[in-house]
């Protein structure tokens, strides 16, 4: 059960945008550094923080340098 929960948390983190991950990370650092949460929660938050850092690194290091072209919409009749 606990394993499943951890796995789903990892999947959730994998879906976060870079900005969301950084926001989550900032939040965790704040909570842990202010010592507002009990040790057990801190450990969980710490693990989540590490997962977020890993996720951010994965995004940054993909580095595909992709370029695409936007084409005019086919059904573009209306002008605004």
């Amino acid at each position: 059960m606990k394993h499943m929960a951890e796995k789903s948390q990892k999947n959730d983190i994998g879906k976060l945008s870079f900005e969301e991950a950084i926001t989550g990370l900032t939040d965790i650092v704040g909570k842990i550094e202010q010592g507002q949460i009990p040790l057990q929660d801190s450990l969980q938050q710490y693990e989540k923080g590490m997962a977020l850092i890993k996720h951010c690194r994965t995004i940054l290091q993909k580095a595909e340098k992709r370029i695409e072209k936007i084409t005019e919409e086919q059904t573009d009749g209306e002008e605004d």
Binding site: M50, L60, A63, I67, E68, K69, I70, D76
Partner: protein, 449 residues
């Protein structure tokens, strides 16, 4: 016959004047004057006059020609009008048909630029408060620029060298010429309309360096308004460092050239990676400190008296219990003693009251009291005796000899002095002592075994 004066029709006169003008005046000329009575008719045509200190010249500018005029003419403005003079036969007047209009002195584009800036400034299109913040980590970036120009490569390089994880989307638009402004504005509006599927974080409108004319599309009001209306934050990257277009003034952020677009629009991947490493370090240091402090707390607790000697609580309680029992016993003894003293005092009182006189009346009372006292004492004593007997019984049960009460006996070999448990413990001729419950002894001899 006197020469008959020829009679002309009105139309003939006007026609003659028209021909005379055409013959005597250049087919195209430029006139300088100050605008007055400027009227921009709803049909799009413009009617006005040019005047100087000596006179006035009625002018017309057709809508098709006025469309090319970049600045907004107004009364009092000194202008150069180019066109031709013709007769407006319906009104019987000659007038100037302008096909070009330029401000005298300053360039038309310069004036147009200043006018548009003044207008949009008044409307609040350049307000800092209206500028949208750029996203910190844009992942999908739209580029509105010419597909063939150098600007697109400059932008791609400047972004991907810093932030290679971003995907760039090129929306090709002409960046100069008649249609440029309209197409740029259209592209801005269309990317906004389609952004639920495009998901662009930023739009960059760009063009490489050029003359004021080359960059003109980015000074057009239609582009300025499309930039202002964009819900996607717009970064402008137009011309050289020294060029400022109106699009630059309206954009949410401005890069001085296309090569600077990356610095303005995206973060540096290396910096972010360094920050991530620092955050990781901070988190780890913090969590270690917390764990260390928690361990210290635990050690302090474990070192406390309670954990060193967990039985001490029980021991303390048992000592308290002993003390309470002792107190209780003392109290009971005291109570008993007091009762006894009261009793003997009563006897003395009774003795002092001349018994022979009171005897008849009091003797009944006394004996009653005596009975009650006796009963009380007997009750206590009996109670105690019963308790004692119970205790003694319990003790007796443990005494091996109590078994004898139930008819068993203990037999001892006199020769060995040991208990006889089996036939092996005796031999013929041995004398045996058998102990009975009644404390009597029977002596016997082994005859056979």
């Amino acid at each position: 016959m006197p020469k008959t004066n020829k009679i002309y029709t009105v139309s003939q006169i006007n026609s003659l004047v028209k021909t005379a003008l055409e013959e005597r005046l250049p087919s195209r000329l430029t006139v300088r004057g100050q605008i007055s009575d400027w009227k921009h008719h709803s049909s799009g045509h413009c009617y006005f006059s040019l005047k100087d200190t000596g006179g006035i010249l009625p002018c017309v500018m057709w809508a098709s020609k006025f469309r090319t005029v970049k600045f907004a003419p107004e009364d009092g403005m000194e202008v150069l009008a180019t066109g031709y003079v013709d007769v407006y036969q319906v009104a019987g007047k000659y007038q100037f048909y302008a096909d070009r209009l330029e401000p005298a002195g300053v360039g038309a584009l310069q004036l147009a630029f200043e006018q548009t800036v003044a207008k949009l400034l008044k409307e609040g299109l350049f307000d800092e408060a209206k500028k949208k913040p750029l996203p910190l980590y844009p992942m999908r970036i739209g580029m509105l620029t010419s597909e063939s120009g150098a600007a697109v490569h400059d932008i791609v390089d400047s972004i991907h060298s810093r932030w290679p994880c971003a995907t760039l989307f090129l929306y090709p638009v002409p960046v100069q010429g008649e249609q440029a402004a309209e197409e740029i504005a259209h592209a801005l509006r269309q990317t906004n309309r389609r952004n639920s599927t495009l998901n662009l974080d930023i739009l960059i409108i760009a063009r490489g360096g050029g003359s004021l004319e080359d960059l003109w599309a980015f000074n057009e009001e239609i582009v300025a308004r499309a930039v202002f209306d964009s819900r996607i934050p717009v970064v402008s990257a137009i011309g050289h460092e020294v060029d400022t277009t109106i699009a630059d003034l309206v954009a949410d952020a401005r890069a001085s050239t296309p090569t600077k677009a990356g610095v303005v629009a995206v973060p540096d991947q290396q910096e972010i990676l360094t920050q991530l490493a620092a955050t990781e370090q901070r988190l780890t240091t913090q969590i270690r400190a917390m764990a260390r402090s928690a361990r210290q707390d635990l050690e302090i607790v474990l070192a406390s008296a309670l954990f060193r000697n967990p039985l001490s609580l029980v021991q303390d309680a048992s000592q308290q219990l002993d003390e309470l029992i002792a107190e209780l016993t003392d109290a009971m003894k005291e109570l008993l003693e007091r009762a006894r003293r009261k009793l003997s005092a009563s006897y003395e009182q009774v003795a002092r009251i001349e018994p022979h006189r009171l005897l008849g009346r009091r003797s009944v009372e006394v004996s009653e009291w005596q009975n009650r006292v006796n009963l009380a004492i007997n009750a206590i004593v009996n109670n105690r005796r019963m308790q004692l007997t119970a205790q003694a019984n319990r003790l007796t049960a443990l005494n091996p000899k109590s078994v004898l009460q139930r008819g068993y006996s203990i037999t001892t070999n006199k020769r060995t002095g040991l208990l006889v448990r089996t036939a092996e413990d005796v031999r013929p001729g041995d004398r045996l002592n058998t102990e009975l419950a009644s404390k009597n002894l029977i002596e016997s001899e082994v005859v056979k075994k």
